[in-house]
Each structure stands twice: as C-alpha cells, then as structure tokens.
Symmetry: C2
Subunit: 279 residues, 2 copies
C-alpha cells in the first residue's frame, strides 16, 4: 500500500512515521504547501518523497488529511472529487463541519472521519514524534457513512499502531473534545497571558515557576495556526464550556472574598473526584 | 547533626529522606499528630524514629516545620519559645503571615523562613519522593532576620541537596507564588469541576481525555488540607491574580462570540511568549 499524507507537520509527520514503522505502507509520500516543511520532512525521513497534490491522488491507495481543521472540509471535497477506489481519512480535532460538508458527496463512503487523540504543544515537521500515537485513543465519527472496506482499512491501521477505537457521532465528538481538550488550551492561553501581564511590573516573576505552573501553561505554547481554526469550528461548544468554566472561577472568587472556607473545602473536595478519572 | 521534622507528609517526608541521603544528618526523627502517618513514615523508612513534640525539641539540632501553612505561624512561636541554640526552618508556601508573627520574637534569629519550590498533587507520607527537591529552586525570605549561623546552616543544607537559593522579602514571595503556583491550582480545581459537572449529562466524556487535559487538571487532585490554608493566607494576592485571569478568559470569550479571529490570533501569539519562560 502507498499512502500520501497531506500536511506534513506534527500530526501528519508522526502519522507518516507510524505507517512505515508498523509496516503498513511500503511507501509514504508527503504533500505540503510549504517548501520549508517539505524539505524538513525529507531531511528528517518522515516521508519517502514529496509530491504535488495532483501527483499524489493517482499515486496513493490511502490519502491522509493532516492540515488545520479550517482547510479539511474543502480539501476533503477536492480529494473525493478526484478519487475512485482510494480510501481517504482525516486527523482533525473537529468533525461536525467536515461531516456535514461531505455528507452528500457521491463518494462519501471512501472517507473515514478520524481523530487520533494525541498531540503536543509543538508544531511543524520537526515536532513529529516516532511512536507518539501508540496507546492513545482514536475516535471514528459517523462510521455508518463509510464503506465497509474503507472503515476496515482505517481500523486495521489504528489496530496495528496500537490505538483503541471509540465510535461516536460528529456532534457528540465535538461536544466531548470541547470539554476534554479545547478548553484546556484556552485556560492555558489565558493563564500564560495573566502571568505575562504581571511580568511587566515584576520582572523576576518566573524565577520560581515550577512543575505545577509548567503543566498548566505548557499548552499556551501551541500554534495559533492549529488552534484558532479548532476554536472557531467548535465555537458553540467551546463557548458553552468557557462560560461554565468562568462561572466556576467566579464561585471560587466569591467564596475566597467572603472567607467561606467551608464552601472552598467542599469545592476542592468535589474537584478531587477527578482522581477517579486520571491517574 | 540530628533533625526533627514536624509534619511527615509529602514535603516533610521527602525532606527527611533528603537529609539522610545527602549525609546531612546522622539521625532524623519525625513528629506527627496522626498515628497513621507516624506508622507509615516508619514503615517507609522516611525517619529513624517518631517522637512527641516535647521530646523532639531537646533532641534536635535542626527543627523543620512541614505542616499546613495555617499551622506554621503558631507552631513556629511554640518552637522558638522552647529552643536555645537550635536552628528552626519551615517549608511553607506562604510567608507574610509567618514572618509577621515571629518578627518580634526574641529568638527570631534562630528561624530561617524557606520555601522549597517543589511538590506533587499527592499528599501524606506515602507520597514522599526520594530526590524530589534536587534541582528545584528554594526561596529564603527575610534572610537579614536570621542569625548568620542559622542562615549558613540552611544554605549548606540546600546546597548539598542541590537546590539553588533565591532571596526575597516575604511580601514579594507571596505575590510571586500567587502568580506562578497558587493560581495554577485554582484554575485546575475549576477546570476539573467544569468537566465533572458536564459528566452528569455525558457519562462518557472522559473516554477521550488525553495528555493536554491531564496536564491542566492534575493539580485538582491536590489536598484541600494543604491548599485551602495557602489560598486563605495568600487571599489578597490570589484574588488579584484570579480577577485578572477571569478578565483574560472574558476577553477570549467575547472575541470568540464576535468571530474576532484577528483578536484571537493576536492573543494566542502573545500567550506563545510563554515559550521564552518554559522549555
């Protein structure tokens, strides 16, 4: 099998490595608008060759879309317009808009909408990680809209890489990811800004920053090119969570203002229930 | 040298291990109100023996206070009331109230106010970590109030453990820690609550939680016994940061509501400056 990965950054680059590492493809080609990314991907051995979009379609049995989510729906349509037997899959963090746009396409069945739940705060081909995906969950959305053979290929690929599959509708996916991924990025951006603002008066404020601070702000290093389209495409869900999160912070603020230690203790004990979820 | 560590949980237990590991003390005793903690500390070999507070004072050359910050000021006074030649140091996360309370004590000079900038979201003696402190910064507050020999002993201990020392006033310390530690805990508690609330409607919401979510909520596992006193003792600084943080989140919310992608991009790019601070 030959694969073409369109968008050869953190996600596309890591996925290309996985396809080769697990013997799933004898050859993987990359497609990228950025010449710098293309050169870097070749230099790092993420792909066997770089080609143009037009060259990649007839070449590949599997076409993987790993571009920012704002570009995925239109790219998906363009790819579906040009293929016949091939399988197409995406790796995007939002799914409703994509699944809506392609829903009536005559070759919708060749498409498998997937979201591997892995990433880092870094971006570009130099951020690609060997083995990054292994052990992480992957979501497959609207599986009933994919042809059985296309779905089976995607499932086989993820099984080989070692990724358990969860199935859900595109709408449910976008709600869930707003809560367990997108909001974490927003709070991190806001927290970084809060402290960076303070640094203007207190120049040594970061001297003491340790592990706790780092873990809550590291996502603020994430690329706006990746995350702005995610927030915009998942705007209504992200706003719901953001409003709820601000509300929770305001409750804590009021309890602190009123010296309501019993309320604060109850709040913290309730939050401690997160222990049952994460190790 | 013999040391007595009062409060043999995460911090006291880890510090007791460090004192032995680096050959700083030939014997370390523990003092703890909780019989369960005392038994666990002995079982885990964190200390050589457990003793009562009254036994510990004449026994020890160095007395280390590692109890919740709400208990430190009064305990510090009680210890200073009973010692003569010994050195006393604390490990608390807040310093203004402590330094104020002991400021006029005739034996203030025997006290060194320190804050090793390390911890985890776990608590109790079973959470103690060998080598946890090494490489982390320690803050020494109001050093001019400590006798030169007492300060020198604390500095030698931290140098042996491998902790660079930063000196600052108690007030500056409490402002800085509000920004680079205390607020991270509050946002984590609030974020955990936000998602736990949602789980009541969407029972599988945590199925997809990955590394990004985990890193922003892990501090929500922290003990209210440790953190509630920190928030209360540092209330005015914590409220300042919390109000600023809520303000930043509201700006992001409004930009998202208005589809202000240029504003969001500028905000994210500004937050990306955190890259210059953390690796």
């Amino acid at each position: 099998m030959k694969a073409a990965v369109i968008g050869i950054g953190l996600i596309g680059g890591s996925f290309a490595l996985s396809l080769k590492e697990h013997g799933l493809c004898e050859e993987v080609a990359g497609v990228d608008n950025s010449r710098a990314n293309a050169e870097k991907a070749l230099e790092l051995g993420l792909v066997d060759r770089m080609m143009t979009f037009e060259e990649a379609i007839p070449y590949a049995d599997l076409i993987v879309l790993a571009v920012p989510v704002s570009a995925i729906p239109m790219l998906a349509v363009k790819v579906l317009n040009r293929i016949d037997r091939q399988v197409v899959m995406d790796m995007g963090s939002t799914k409703q808009e994509l699944c809506d746009i392609i829903s009536q396409h005559p070759r919708r069945g060749r498409f498998v909408a997937t979201h591997p739940m892995w990433g880092t705060e870094y971006s570009g081909p130099e951020a690609a990680v060997r083995g990054g995906f292994t052990g992480r969950t992957v979501v497959v959305c609207d599986r009933e809209a994919s042809d059985p053979d296309a779905l089976a290929l995607a499932e086989r690929i993820y099984a080989e890489i070692g990724m358990p599959v969860k199935y859900m509708g595109a709408e449910e996916h976008d709600t869930h990811t707003a809560y367990i991924s997108h909001i974490s990025h927003i709070t991190s951006f806001a927290l970084a800004l809060t402290v960076l603002e303070k640094e203007r008066e207190e120049s040594h404020i970061f001297d003491l920053a340790g592990g706790g601070f780092e873990s809550t702000v590291r996502l603020a290093k994430s690329s706006p090119d990746t995350w702005l389209p995610i927030f915009m495409q998942n705007k209504y869900n992200v706003l719901d969570v953001l409003r709820e999160h601000i509300h929770q912070l305001q409750i804590i603020r009021k309890m602190l203002e009123r010296d309501d230690t019993a309320g604060l203790r109850a709040t913290m004990e309730k939050a401690n229930n997160i222990r049952k979820i994460i190790e």
